[in-house]
């Protein structure tokens, strides 16, 4: 019954997201609509199996498919927009066995329950947001507030004001909103750090369970574009160019929860003092030629295997069915999770 949207929640989440993108095109992903695929392989670190008995950390090199994306649900590509970027990775573990890791460039999420997220998504409906006048700027100066910025320079319709008002009323939305206000636009999909947001349970061969969070860190380092003028599709162009010269590499880092860390709440950051372990390195070697196949491909944050499994995070549980719902709506491949449907 997974993914059947028994209580209608997945449909409501899906529809709420669509409200934020009026030009959304049916048959595409509701968010992270514009993407680009790449393939390569993952090499686990020697120490990874001390923490997880998952197949992808056993020692062998694993084939991987990755889809990078912009966070917007609009079908129009604006790589230069100040937006969340996504990196969905699929580990091919053998016949009909896969494990996914879905990460974005924000370290925390906006809601800790699905109902909260519905409220947040509804608050982000775009409204016409005129450029600030000299008077607005003067008032901001007097209030010691920063100059306002527009996330998407091409689009005067913006949901930021609604999101901000929502975060002012809901404390759990604040860390994510503050993180979103500090987003930068990367020079390359391969020059941003991506976070899995949720906590997972890593179990080693001795049965020792640790609560962990995962991130992809670019070996080339993080670099934002700053104020540089860039073409609207520069991230796509750059990735192809980069891979022609050699692999794009990412280190998979895992942070282990400390006592008192909230392991079911994706709105809470953990302190940087937590134990940090290198779990392996990803080498992306070429673009995925078949763009249609990449766009139909289903990723799901709950597609895991024994040794690295989901926590009880309610957002993570809701994402399972919401991603399945979305997959069916757009005729995707690879759902349901664990069903081997391809």
């Amino acid at each position: 019954m997974q993914g059947q949207d028994v209580d209608g929640l997945s449909g409501r989440l899906y529809d709420a997201l669509l409200l934020d993108y009026p030009d959304h095109q049916e048959g595409t992903r509701p968010v992270h609509t514009v993407g680009i695929g790449a393939t390569g392989y993952f090499v686990p670190s020697l120490g990874a199996r001390e923490y997880s008995r998952a197949v992808q950390f056993a020692g062998a090199t694993i084939a991987v498919t990755v889809r990078f994306s912009n966070g917007s649900g609009s079908p129009v590509e604006h790589d230069d927009a100040l937006d969340v970027r996504g990196m969905a990775a699929k580990f091919h573990l053998g016949t009909d066995r896969e494990a996914d890791l879905i990460m974005i460039t924000l370290p925390v999420f906006f809601a800790k329950t699905p109902e909260d997220f519905l409220g947040f998504a509804r608050a982000g409906v775009p409204r016409f947001d005129p450029l600030p006048t000299w008077w607005d700027r003067l008032v901001d100066k007097l209030l010691l507030r920063p100059d306002p910025t527009r996330p998407d320079p091409h689009n005067p319709d913006d949901g930021s004001a609604g999101v901000l008002a929502y975060a002012n009323r809901h404390a759990s939305a604040r860390p994510g909103t503050i993180a979103a206000l500090m987003l930068v636009t990367p020079t390359s999909y391969a020059r941003a750090t991506y976070h899995a947001l949720h906590t997972f349970k890593a179990t080693n061969a001795d049965g020792l369970v640790r609560y962990v969070r995962l991130s992809w860190e670019p070996v080339a380092g993080v670099r934002p574009i700053g104020g540089a003028e860039v073409p609207e599709d520069y991230l796509h162009q750059e990735l192809g160019e980069r891979l022609r010269h050699g692999p794009a590499r990412f280190v998979l880092r895992m942070v282990v929860a400390g006592e008192g860390d909230d392991v079911d709440d994706p709105t809470r950051l953990w302190d940087t003092t937590r134990l940090r372990v290198v779990m392996g390195e990803l080498f992306l070697t070429e673009l995925l030629e078949d763009e249609d196949a990449c766009e139909r491909l289903s990723f799901n944050p709950t597609r895991t295997v024994t040794g690295l499994e989901c926590s009880d995070d309610p957002i993570l549980a809701a994402r399972r069915d919401a991603y399945e719902y979305s997959c069916r709506r757009r005729g995707g491949t690879g759902c349901p999770v664990g069903g081997g449907g391809r």
Binding site: G258, G260, T272, T273, L275
Partner: protein, 209 residues
């Protein structure tokens, strides 16, 4: 002309800061004690002590004072046994002790007093607002004095810094007011080996402890 504009702009900013400190004051957050082991290793102490004499002569005295006591300092730090690193710096007109240590903050300061209290007594002779001395006789005063001279440590999750703020647009103003009260701030920290204690590292490396 641009320098005049910059000066006038700074003058206006100072006036606005004074106004907002009166209109909407922001208290410096006090961090609660945490029980996680990871929270109690590799803690930071950034002690910023303004010099009494900020001329080159006064600064030279501070350097000579530290240099003359280096054996006592290093032996004491070794004997405390929970110190990852300690630096003694002159930054601007301040004598600074910047350390990373394991365990409880107050215990750490009291360890300082017991292993090189006499160095601290020499040190506070060159600072502008010294606590009562000798510090061995006034440990509670000394602990409090150290706390008031530590750089404020900004948390990674900025939303935790001003929990009472009802409007996120005001966070930048809150930060400005906080910095006006706390000019010395630790903005970020990184460790190449987080969550590991001195004892664990020395044991793993086989260099005794």
């Amino acid at each position: 002309m641009s320098r005049l504009v910059a000066a006038l702009s700074q003058l206006m900013e100072r006036a606005l800061v004074r106004y907002w400190k009166w209109r909407a004051p922001v208290p410096t957050p006090v961090w609660e004690w945490k029980t996680s082991l990871a929270d109690n290793v590799q803690q930071q102490m950034n002690l910023i002590m303004p010099l009494a004499d900020t001329t080159a002569v006064g600064r030279a005295k501070a350097v000579q004072m530290v240099a003359a006591n280096i054996d006592e300092l290093f032996t004491g730090l070794n004997n405390i046994g929970t110190v990852h690193s300690a630096r003694f710096d002159l930054i601007g007109d301040n004598l600074c002790i910047i350390t990373v240590y394991d365990g409880d903050h107050e215990v750490y300061i009291r360890d300082f007093i017991s292993v090189f209290g006499s160095v601290f007594d020499a040190m506070i002779k060159v600072v502008a607002d010294p606590p009562p001395s000798p510090c061995e006789d006034f440990p509670a005063d000394f602990v409090k004095w150290v706390s008031t001279h530590e750089a404020f440590q900004v948390p990674g999750d900025l939303s935790l810094m001003f929990p009472g703020e009802q409007n996120l647009l005001n966070l930048s103003r809150d930060l400005i007011l906080l910095l006006d009260d706390n000019p010395n701030v630790q903005i970020g920290r990184f460790s190449g080996y987080p969550a590991l204690s001195v004892a664990q590292l020395r044991l793993a490396a086989g260099i005794e402890w």
